[in-house]
């Protein structure tokens, strides 16, 4: 069953066309990696999906169950987050903001959801620590936990491993993979790392303003993009 459908969307960003006529659909349970060079429109496409940027033309249909609020988003980190005084618990709990609505406080169920997600990512012991004191890998776990407070259906990650060392990167990929296979969370991830994408995703999208390739990972391996990036190994 397809939960996200994009028809011929074009998005301008900073005065130039960043995404040019992209059409694709994502099914429940998919693990989609969006790969491409810097400036190929990967992040812009995702922002369009999340409703952060309005497409100039084309249509995005997102399953009613998922529209706004049931999508967990893990954006690229901002400058101001680096010295932000917030406890880990506060950050994770803030993922429940949508279900809280106009009630001024979080209720017991939301607090429990935050605690469950803290435990799920092994950061429960860090809950009173300040977000700014954590390592990069721990910070990403906190943001993952927050995203899963907002949803357990669709998780969208924008270059989650930027700046992490290889060990931590591998661990984070494992965690995300597990969410997909064990908890059946649909994953859309923007990534630089084509090797990892091939290893873990079941669908791959190659961006270069236009959608250059979109399909199963097995087919992707035989495209010129994959061959160029992977060198001779796979071919």
């Amino acid at each position: 069953m397809s939960i996200v459908e994009c028809k011929d969307i074009t998005i301008e960003y900073d005065g130039r066309i960043a995404v040019d006529g992209a059409s694709f659909s994502i099914d429940q349970g998919d693990y989609l990696c969006i790969v491409g060079e810097n400036g190929s429109g990967k992040s812009t496409l995702v922002k369009g999906l999340m409703g952060l940027i309005k497409p100039n033309s084309g249509g995005i249909t997102i399953d009613k169950e998922l529209t706004q609020g049931r999508i967990g988003y893990l954006p690229q980190q901002t400058e101001s987050q680096k010295d932000f005084p917030a406890s880990v618990y506060e950050v994770v709990l803030s993922g429940c903001i949508k279900s809280k609505g106009f009630r001024p406080f979080y209720n017991a169920e939301e607090k429990q959801r935050a605690k469950d997600n803290l435990k799920r990512f092994q950061i429960y012991d860090l809950r009173h620590k300040s977000y700014r004191e954590l390592s990069g890998g721990q910070q990403q776990r906190v943001l993952l936990a927050r995203a899963l407070c907002a949803t357990d259906a669709l998780l969208v990650l924008d270059e989650p491993v930027t700046g992490l060392d290889p060990m931590v990167t591998a661990e984070l990929y494992d965690t995300i993979q597990e969410l997909n296979t064990r908890d059946h969370v649909t994953i859309i991830m923007v990534s630089h790392d084509v090797r990892m994408a091939i290893k873990s995703a079941n669908k791959i999208m190659q961006m270069g303003q236009k959608v250059l390739f979109f399909g199963n990972t097995k087919e992707y391996i035989n495209t010129p993009y994959a061959k160029a990036l992977l060198g001779g190994e796979q071919g």
Partner: protein, 269 residues
């Protein structure tokens, strides 16, 4: 000390100044945490200069100062926020541009009407004599509104401050809350400006938040301690101002600076 405070409060004009000052310090500190973290510290500074311009024009046209300057500053806050997000001129340059222009217009209006006199001085550096009974009523009303809105929307404000993209994706109307912050800041600045002065009011917003951030690790404690630090610094500044006959704005800033230094040293250890 208690003797001095009792003596001070026996003057009705000081009592009025204390009431307004405490409420404004409280609001400024709460909003300040968000503004500092969102990298909008300079907006306070820009708005106080716009407020100065509006005040000068209100004087010249014989309108009640708050009635003109509150809407003008709210509009300015709205534009600063909007423009600093979208425009080609970067936020900080834009704020510098708007604040010096507003200041210039204010000075021209004053020099063409009442002439550069003690009034200008009190606008720039503040005066505790500025508060009338009506000002006190309005200040109490507005500050309570600011406090209530802040408490009710505390979690939304946290989300919008920490991560705008995530909040938007979660279906929060980020621009509404940014506007809310801007409007509340505008009101707070206008209320506090005549006592603290256009040059010094933005310190009420910035100092307590920075001091608290040195020491506390969670958002909630930073907010609470900013409020406490802000009110205490104001009171102490007021006492010093009375004791040594110095302008209240300047003495509050110096007290805040000392607290920031102490907090930085404690934070290092």
């Amino acid at each position: 000390m208690i003797q001095i405070i009792r003596e001070m409060l026996s003057y009705p004009f000081i009592l009025r100044a204390v009431i307004v000052g405490v409420l404004v310090s409280l609001c400024a500190a709460l909003l300040g945490v968000s503004l500092v973290l969102k990298r909008f510290s300079m907006i306070g500074d820009g708005l106080s200069h716009v407020s100065f311009g509006a005040l000068a024009i209100a004087m010249a046209m014989n309108i009640a100062p708050l009635k003109l300057s509150i809407p003008v500053v709210i509009v300015a806050a709205f534009f600063l926020l909007r423009l600093s997000n979208n425009s080609k001129i970067k936020g900080d340059a834009l704020i510098a541009l708007i604040s010096s222009s507003a200041l210039a217009i204010g000075v021209i209006v004053i020099s063409r009407t009442t002439g550069m006199n003690a009034d200008v001085d009190s606008y720039m550096f503040g005066s505790i004599l500025a508060m009338s009974d009506e000002d006190v009523k309005l200040s109490v009303l507005l500050s309570i509104t600011v406090l209530i809105l802040f408490v009710v929307f505390y979690h939304q404000l946290f989300n919008v401050t920490f991560d705008e993209s995530f909040s938007k994706a979660a279906g929060i109307n980020v621009s509404v809350y940014n506007m809310l912050i801007a409007v509340l800041t505008a009101i707070t600045i206008v209320l506090g400006m005549r006592m603290m002065g256009a040059m010094l009011i933005s310190s009420l917003i910035i100092f307590p938040a920075l001091s608290s951030m040195r020491i506390f690790k969670s958002f909630r404690f930073v907010v609470i301690s900013s409020a406490i630090i802000s009110v205490l610094c104001f009171m102490l500044g007021m006492v010093l101002s009375y004791q040594y006959s110095i302008p209240v704005g300047a003495s509050v800033v110096v007290v805040n600076l000392s607290v920031l230094i102490v907090c930085s040293i404690i934070g290092k250890h």
